[in-house]
């Protein structure tokens, strides 16, 4: 788990970046990887690689990055974790490959040598990496299927720079910090900046589940989508031999086993919700576990979590967070926040607790709602699409602020979904961003079309469509991104056994029928199973004493506060 960066001055007429820039970008990411760091620039100065490393697998200096293969032909910078690396390594060794370390990093190098871009179908994990191939003078870049690990790119027409953080690219000094109207509009509409936009005009997110090459004179070529959530659902064929409940548990059990690969102790965020409790139950059977729960006085789930942790026999820490601590940490939170978001504060504090306990890796139950249909959207979105007039009337009766939008926004799954998830509405933006930026932002964003585009090919059922939307939009742009920056700020690696491309492929046939959630909770004690869903949030409004504007949610005013720190 690390922070990475690379540059390629692909146009011969372009000036190559200086070493100081590479060093500055790398230095910005020290919290992501406090254990070691390194940079490399090719003798001709046209290619550079940089890394900060948090050592999880192979703690020896052999794991240092940028890492070269034994033949000295391939170099890699890699952020993430490959859970099936031992299996892949065995396969490569049977084919004659030789290794000089015990890292998953080196496995990626040899796998690339053997399979090229095809390697991505074999890799189970979360990752963003760049491999410099001296034989072809091409750089291979890839990001994991769900976008768990971030990767950003800036292309000025002569040099392409990539890095794990938007703020790191800015820290190099060569990329403009101009605000992207589309990113700004997206933040106010969604609560997070929707990919591929970022909050900076000249920086774009690398698409999750894609890879490409960087090539001399041509820049980015051979862009390939190797994994699509919509396609997984579209191609799922029903598997009717097995009891769905038994099958789902079996597959999750296996996913957890994969996610426990580590040379260091493993923790788990325990919220007393079904997803994290079920994960704790499964993981505690497989390893010695340290569970962590946050407590905020009035909103505390801590007593339930403590009781459950005791039953499981885990080492348990309840971390009390006070309003004062939140206010004290606020400047640092905003400083480490890579892009504006209305969330992530919870992950900040739980990761802080994990770090204080000397633990480097923590499992999180994020993704359970997307997988098993835990959100209201799984019911509401199909309802709005199929009965828009009814939905409109019902919302009006409840004086819901979004009621008026239903007739215009609800014609497709994508639009209805947007309605469900939006924070502000397009016609509110001029008040916040000013007329020009709002108009330009909304135009460029073409948000509603973008939302519908996620559903290609059609994921077969209503469940498949909403699950795809949730995973591709809210989870990727908000939950996973927040989990990344807020945990990395404390040098903690978050692992997500329920956000796993392989797990989804296995479960899709069962999930399409929509009966998963009860499965996960079925073996939990009643005091956890039968309580209402509460989420895992910090009482921001109360603590920050921000006046809610009374329209939609308390998050709206926090959003403005975050915005001010970026604008």
């Amino acid at each position: 788990m690390c922070g990475i960066t690379a540059f390629f001055a692909y146009r011969s007429t372009a000036a190559a970046p200086r070493r100081e820039e590479l060093e500055a970008i790398t230095a910005r990411m020290i919290p992501r990887g406090p254990d070691a760091g390194g940079t490399w620039i090719s003798p001709d100065g046209r290619v550079g690689l940089g890394s900060r490393r948090l050592a999880i697998i192979d703690l020896s200096p052999e794991g240092a990055q940028p890492m070269w293969d034994s033949a000295g032909e391939l170099a890699i910078v890699f952020n993430g974790e490959i859970y099936n690396y031992a299996e892949l390594r065995a396969s490569l060794e049977r084919g004659g490959a030789r290794f000089h370390s015990h890292t998953d990093t080196e496995v990626l190098l040899e796998l690339y040598r053997r399979d090229g871009a095809r390697m991505l179908g074999l890799v189970r994990g979360m990752f963003a990496f760049a491999i410099w191939d001296t034989r072809t003078r091409r750089m291979f870049v890839a990001r994991d299927p769900y976008g768990i690990k971030p990767l950003y790119l800036a292309d000025d027409g002569g040099v392409i720079r990539i890095a794990s953080e938007v703020k790191a690219l800015l820290a190099g000094g060569a990329v403009s910090a101009a605000i992207d109207p589309a990113g700004a509009a997206g933040f106010f509409l969604n609560g997070s900046v929707p990919e591929p936009f970022t909050i900076r005009k000249d920086i774009r997110a690398v698409d999750a589940g894609t890879s490409f090459f960087l090539e001399e004179e041509r820049g980015r070529v051979d862009v390939r989508r190797y994994y699509s959530i919509a396609e997984v659902f579209a191609r799922a064929t029903e598997d009717h031999l097995v009891d769905p409940a038994v099958f789902v548990r079996e597959r999750i059990d296996e996913s957890v086993r994969h996610h426990l690969v580590s040379d260091v102790p493993v923790g788990l965020f325990l919220s007393a919700g079904i997803d994290s409790s079920a994960l704790a139950q499964i993981a505690a059977r497989q390893t010695k576990l340290h569970t962590f729960t946050l407590s905020f006085h009035a909103f505390s789930e801590a007593p339930l979590a403590e009781r459950f942790a005791k039953e499981l026999g885990t080492t348990h820490t309840t971390r009390l967070v006070s309003p004062k601590e939140l206010l004290d940490d606020l400047p640092r939170i905003l400083e480490r926040m890579d892009q504006p978001t209305i969330d992530g504060v919870n992950t900040w504090f739980i990761s802080k607790a994990v770090h204080e306990a000397g633990v480097k890796v923590a499992l999180s139950g994020v993704g359970g709602d997307e997988l098993f249909g835990g959100y209201p959207s799984f019911k509401n979105v199909p309802r709005i699409v199929h009965f828009p007039r009814l939905a409109h009337l019902a919302a009006r009766a409840r004086r819901h602020p979004k009621a008026g939008q239903i007739p215009t926004h609800a014609k497709t799954y994508g639009r209805a979904y947007f309605l469900q998830r939006s924070l502000f509405f397009p016609d509110e933006l001029p008040h916040i961003l000013g007329e020009d930026m709002a108009r330009e932002g909304i135009e460029q964003l073409a948000l509603l079309d973008r939302v519908d585009a996620v559903l290609d090919p059609d994921p077969l059922t209503a469940f498949g469509r909403v699950a795809t939307l949730e995973a591709s939009l809210y989870m990727r742009n908000q939950l996973l991104r927040d989990a990344d920056w807020a945990s990395m700020a404390h040098s903690v690696e978050v692992r997500t056994p329920l956000v796993d491309a392989w797990l989804l492929r296995q479960l899709a046939p069962v999930l399409l029928r929509g009966d998963g959630k009860s499965v996960l909770g079925s073996t939990l004690p009643p005091y956890l199973r039968d309580r209402p869903k509460t989420g895992f949030f910090v009482p921001m409004k109360e603590w920050l004493d921000l006046r809610p504007d009374g329209t939609t949610t308390r998050m709206r005013s926090w959003a403005r506060r975050v915005w001010e720190s970026f604008a």
Partner: protein, 343 residues
């Protein structure tokens, strides 16, 4: 001491379950009365310790008569050879479960069983998963008689019949069942296009899914690289395996996967599934490569790797499934169930 064994089929039967039943009877070596539901083929090689009540299979009435007689004989132990037969089993039976018949929630009076024998840990876990069964369980994997197989030269008439000269052959043996579709034929066809032209896929077995699979091969443009043998003569089986360069079965429905043992006994390298009992037949990857049937990339890579090595040998670890070991395990289970062995 008397043991009654209620089975779907055994002698004169085909397939994995009949084979398991025959192996079990022979392995325990003590007197046992076997009552079958069906007898399809010729009854051969019934060992001296076995009383095979073939007439029970003639009609429902005959079956009832046989059951009544068995009940009157006051047996010491009743073994129920299939979950479907549990309703007619009596006397706190020892139940045997094989595969997907026990994978899904269904009505079953498991409470009346004194124990459950499963051919794999997977089938046991799945049964326990939906039923909450808490009684004793035993895992008893299939056995393979190594002496009946072995590495042999490719039989010229078969090479010619299936046009395999100069080809690299992938093989799957199994029934082509349109209701089940779990053998992994589709998955192999899907990756065939991405493999070198010289690789052909031989599907050995009959069944009602043939037309669909053939059409699929045509649609994928690989029809000229797929060989359907149809139903084959059991006696040709070892020779059929010996035609293969790799035995590939990325299945989802195998309780255990006896065919893997047969292929390995012929020295053919195997590729099995992580998602079903094949995993156990391959000893968790010790005896062959395991792939996720849902992941084409993994399957393709495993095939490429196996063909590249091109190695033919009977893996030493296959001994784990020898008949001797099977007999020891069978007897240990009966001892645990309260049957004393004098030998």
């Amino acid at each position: 001491m008397s043991i009654i064994f209620l089975v779907t089929d055994a002698y004169g039967g085909h397939g994995g379950i009949a084979l398991f039943n025959r192996q079990f009877c022979e392995a325990i070596g003590v007197p046992i009365t076997v009552i079958p539901r069906v007898v399809r083929g010729e009854i051969r090689d019934v060992p001296p310790n076995v009383t095979f009540v073939a007439e029970a299979a003639k009609s429902p009435l005959a079956y009832l008569r046989a059951l009544t007689a068995a009940r009157r004989s006051k047996p010491e132990l009743v073994i129920c050879g299939h979950l479907n037969l549990l309703p007619v089993a009596f006397n706190r039976p020892l139940l045997v479960v094989h595969g997907y018949e026990a994978w899904k929630r269904r009505r079953a009076a498991l409470g009346k069983c004194r124990g459950v024998i499963s051919v794999s840990a997977l089938t046991r876990d799945r049964l326990v998963g939906w039923s909450g069964y808490t009684g004793p369980t035993y895992v008893l994997p299939n056995a393979v008689r190594l002496e009946q197989y072995g590495i042999r030269p490719k039989r010229a008439d078969l090479v010619e019949r299936y046009k395999l000269e100069g080809k690299r052959v992938l093989l799957t043996v199994g029934r082509l069942d349109s209701g089940e579709r779990s053998k992994g034929f589709d998955e192999v066809l899907d990756v065939l296009r991405e493999l070198p032209e010289v690789v052909v896929y031989m599907i050995a077995g009959g069944g009602n899914d043939f037309t669909r699979l053939q059409k699929k091969a045509v649609d994928l443009g690989v029809a000229n690289r797929v060989v359907f043998t149809g139903l084959f003569d059991e006696r040709d089986k070892p020779d059929l395996y010996n035609l293969a360069d790799a035995y590939v079965m990325p299945s989802r429905g195998e309780g255990f996967g006896f065919v893997f043992l047969e292929a390995m006994a012929c020295g053919v390298p195997v590729i099995g599934s992580k998602a079903d009992g094949g995993r156990e037949a391959l000893r968790d990857g010790e005896l062959g490569l395991l792939v996720d049937p849902a992941n084409p990339a993994e399957l393709r890579a495993a095939i490429v790797e196996t063909l590249a090595r091109g190695e033919r040998r009977v893996p030493p670890g296959l001994d784990y499934f020898s008949f001797g070991k099977f007999a020891e395990r069978s007897r240990a289970i009966l001892s645990a169930a309260g049957i004393a062995f004098t030998s």
